[in-house]
Structure formats: structure tokens, C-alpha cells
């Protein structure tokens, strides 16, 4: 296959598919064992400083926010990250946790730019930004999930998004067309929030599935937070709903309202007031720091965080709850 050109971005996490197979063979238990633990245990056990992480879905929608807050609470500083994010990427940037980014979108949707990510990049604190599209990052996970080193695609071609990526343009050996090859992306640690999981890590999600199926299969370690830990029987009664099987999972953390202030399909809506206030506060570096103190560093764990949010607020956002 003829390589026509290469993007100039750094390949932050070069894929080694044979090592990945070996890892999955020797380091991932196929036994049905109880993987329940606290968020503090899960993260200190499986995440090391300097590793490459990914978070699914994104900050205002089914994101593992309680796990994200715990990463920040434990003070990780030199992470690389797949940046498809809103609130969670913003907080990681605010806490100076990220040094390198494979970036597709980090922003605040209707509220505009991500102020902390912007500051972290413009100041040079984030040392490396490599560009991709949304499809590209998801297909990079898909390649890893398929166990192949790259996927040929028809996006990013002809643009600066390609030029500043680590993709390659090749001539298709079958058609002669130009294709954009995306390298597989294998995460050191992935974080996914789901509606329900059993203690072994079999996971089910309601509503859109984002890139959970692909990212789960592209993670060497996978930490799951779940709104509810359910009996194995419930999973077995509807196995067609299982999107992440237990053997991909290393830790299961129970986290009701784990996506707060983001939403969870069928369970609760986004906490618009909280998000709007943060979007405003994050314009100022001192107020951003105060936010991190109040909502992360000064609370011990997710339970204390929920106490701080308050039962009244939680019942207001709960679907079918006390909302007027």
C-alpha cells in the first residue's frame, strides 16, 4: 500500500496489537469475580500518573463525573487524554491534569468555549495537541476493538485537521482511491458510566450508546461506574441489552447521580443551574479554583458530593420526581 502523505501530529499512543492480545490473554480475568470497589480504590489501583486515559460519553451526557472528580482529587498531573469532551475535559484541564491531548472537541456547547482547556492550551501547559474528528477518534477505538492496527476512512482528507493529526493518506490497493488511515487507539485506562451493571461488570446502557462499545474494547483497564448495581439474574434476563461484557471490566463502582451535573437518560435531567454557573465561573481562574475546592477537593467522595448538591436539587432533576 503506497503512503502518499503523513500528518505531522505526534502519535501519542502508538498501537501494539500483539501486546494488546497478550495483555488481554494474561491480564484480564475471565472468571466471574466480584469487582465492586469504591471510586478511590478503583482509581488508585488502576491509574498511574503519566498514563493515557479516555472518558465516555461526554461531560453533560452519561459521563463518569464522579470518577473524573476522583481523578482530580487524587492529584494526577501528567495524563494524556482522548479529548471528546465537555464538562469532564474542562475540569481535568482546570486541575492541570493533562499534558497531551488527542483533540476532537472540547467546548461547552451552548455556553461556548471551554475556558480552562483554552487557558491550558494557550498558556502551553498542555504540551501537545493532535487534531482528529469525532468519527476519527471513535474509529480509532473501533480499530483497537477489532484488533487491527488501523482503519481506512474517507474523513479528514484535504484539511488541516488531517495535517495536524497522526493519520496517513494512502492509495487504496483495490480501488486506487485516496483513503485516510486512522491508527488504532488503545487506552491505558478507560472510564464509562452506565445505567446498570452486575458485580462482575456486565453493563447495560439505556438510550444512545455513544462510543461506549468501541472504547470499552479499546481499554487495557476499564473502570465502570453505574447508577445501580443489579443482580446477575437481571442481566441474564435481558442479555441482548448488555453492551459491555464483564471480561472487559476491571472495577465496578456504584454511583447514583454519577453523571451529575450531566444527565442520564430516563433517570435525571442535566442540572442546568449548576452547569450555567460553572460556565460563568470558569471564565475566571480564581473562581475556577474555588469551584474545584468546593466541589472536589473539600469533599471526600461521591456521597459527600451528593450531600453538597442536596436532596432537594436531586429530586428536582430526577425524572418523574418532584419537578414542577
Amino acid at each position: 500500500m503506497k503512503v502518499i502523505s503523513s500528518g505531522i501530529g505526534e502519535l501519542i499512543q502508538p498501537p501494539d496489537l500483539n501486546a494488546f492480545r497478550e495483555w488481554n490473554h494474561t491480564q484480564k480475568s475471565k472468571s466471574l469475580i466480584d469487582k465492586r470497589m469504591t471510586e478511590s480504590e478503583a482509581i488508585s489501583k488502576f491509574l498511574q500518573d503519566g498514563q493515557y486515559i479516555g472518558i465516555e460519553l461526554y461531560g453533560t451526557v452519561r459521563a463518569p463525573m464522579s470518577l473524573t472528580r476522583e481523578i482530580i482529587r487524587q492529584g494526577y498531573k501528567n495524563l494524556s487524554c482522548a479529548g471528546q469532551g465537555v464538562y469532564e475535559s474542562e475540569l481535568l484541564a482546570a486541575a492541570n491534569a493533562i499534558k497531551k491531548l488527542d483533540w476532537t472537541y472540547i467546548g461547552f456547547e451552548v455556553y461556548g468555549l471551554s475556558n480552562s482547556a483554552r487557558r491550558a492550551v494557550e498558556s502551553g501547559y498542555v504540551e501537545k495537541v493532535v487534531e482528529w474528528s469525532n468519527a476519527a477518534l471513535s474509529w480509532r477505538f473501533k480499530a483497537a476493538a477489532m484488533g487491527v492496527p488501523f482503519l481506512p476512512t474517507r474523513v479528514m482528507l484535504g484539511t488541516d485537521t488531517y495535517k495536524f493529526s497522526a493519520a496517513k493518506v494512502v492509495e487504496c490497493p483495490f480501488t486506487g482511491d485516496k483513503l485516510c488511515l486512522l491508527p488504532a487507539l488503545i487506552l491505558d485506562v478507560g472510564f464509562i458510566h452506565v445505567h446498570r451493571a452486575d458485580k462482575y461488570g456486565n453493563c447495560q446502557i439505556d438510550g444512545i450508546s455513544g462510543f461506549s462499545a468501541e472504547m470499552a474494547r479499546a481499554s487495557k483497564r476499564l473502570i465502570i461506574s453505574a447508577e445501580e448495581i443489579v443482580d446477575e439474574e437481571l442481566i441474564r434476563s435481558q442479555p441482548d441489552r448488555t453492551i459491555i461484557p464483564y471480561y472487559l471490566v476491571d472495577a465496578v463502582v456504584e454511583a447514583p447521580f454519577g453523571s451529575h451535573p450531566g444527565e442520564m437518560t430516563g433517570l435525571y435531567e442535566r442540572d442546568e443551574e449548576h452547569i450555567r454557573n460553572y460556565a460563568k465561573d470558569s471564565k475566571d481562574i480564581e473562581q475556577t479554583r474555588q469551584y474545584l475546592d468546593q466541589w472536589i477537593y473539600d469533599v471526600k467522595n461521591h456521597n459527600e458530593y451528593l450531600e453538597l448538591v442536596g436532596e432537594q436539587r436531586l429530586s428536582e432533576i430526577r425524572i418523574g420526581g418532584n419537578r414542577e
Binding site: V110, S133, N134, A136, V155, M156, G158, T161, I208
Partner: protein, 256 residues
Amino acid sequence: MNKSDYNPNELLICIASRLMEDNATCFIGTGIPMLAAALAQKMHAPNLISIFEFGGIGAQLEKLPLAVGDMRTFNKGLMAAGICDIMEAGQCGFVDYGFLGGAQIDIYGNLNSTVIGDDHDNPKVRLPGSGGGNDVGSTCWKTIIIMQHGVRRFIPKIDFITTPGYLSGPGAREEAGLPPNTGPYRVVTNLGTLGFDENSKRMKLLALNPGITVEEVIENTGFELIIPDKIDNNPAPSMPELKILREDVDKDRFYI
């Protein structure tokens, strides 16, 4: 209606909405495209199939989505899928229209939403990035861009091509390997509607918004626009459009 009877956002939403065809598949991005799609479903296009990048297909847009992955993007929908299903449908040619925004646009409809400044590694302003923009602009058949008009946005050379328009001109998309017969179709702005010349692929003025002159469009465009002999006039938002927009689509006034 008089110009003073509606605001600029309402005008943009109504004009974008009229471009959305019934029974067409449309990639919908954050903001004005969401309102335009909801309005179109309630006016002329009840079977407009909205497609949201994180998996929502064919929602009935009863409540305004605030995020491209939120639960309103598949409310009473036909399918709640994942991002790969959606992007692969686009790559296979199933998506008719894509609606996009951007910070900067050039004469060939290339869009920048990545960085301001000419040094990617030391940007003056770091913008949100491609997201699904590049994918939509690469794979759907017709891209419709919605932007505020101005000389700092409509510029001869944008700082970064995030999303492909016609790149450097006729044949450039195909030469780069992008699917044939795709590309930008319309640019909807607060001043009027623009299209692209069939041969040169350069941007041209198609229609003026109420009260806007050709001179105003030229003054607010940083490159030379093609000005054809015949230019249409975009009708002002109608009473039914405004009523639905204000009392139903965005009754909490999130955008308008």
C-alpha cells in the same frame, strides 16, 4: 412583517428551517440547526429525519435539545444508536444534508473551528475543534453553513481548515479523496443566503434578507463575492413561523 418584529436569531432560524426538506436525512449540530429542524418538523417537514452524531435518529423534536447527545435527540426516535453507526451511515451516503457553524469561512466554503492565529501549536485562541464538523462536511451530500456575516469571519484565507469546503477550488475535494459530488451547498447568514458557482466553486450571493442591500453584503465580506444579475429576496419570518418558534420550539427562550 416589519424587520423590527423579529430578532436576528429568529430570522436565521426561519431561513435555515425553510431549507430543510420533508423526508430528508439531516445531520443536526448544536444551536440554531436544532431550532431550525424543530421548526421545520412543525411547519412543512413533519418527516424530516434528524440525525445527531452520538446516535439519535429520527427524533420528534418536541423539546429543544441542549446537547448533540442528550435524551431529546432521540425523543420518540426511530433508533438510539452509537456514533459509529451514524458516521458510517454518512460515509455510505445515507445523509442528505449537514448543518454546520464555524468561526471563519473562505470563498470556497472551507470552515475553521479549531484555532485563531497562524501557529497551531501556539494559538491566539483555542476554539472547540472539529467535533463532528469535519465528518459532516466530508461525507454528507450537501452541507449548509449557518454563520453571522462579517469581514472578520468571511475572510480570504482562514487560519485553519477544520472542515472541507471546496478546498482550493474545482476538483480539489475529489483530488484529496473525498466522496464525489459532495460539498457546501448554502451559507445562511444574518444578511442573506449564499451558494457556490457550479464551475468555479466560489461563493455567490443568492438572496437578500429583508432590508439588506447588495452593498451591505459586499462590505461585510472579506473576499470578492460573485454577484449574479438576479438576486432573490428572502421573505421575512411569517406569523405562523414566529408563533411556533416562540410558543413551542424555544418557549424557554434559550436561543431567541
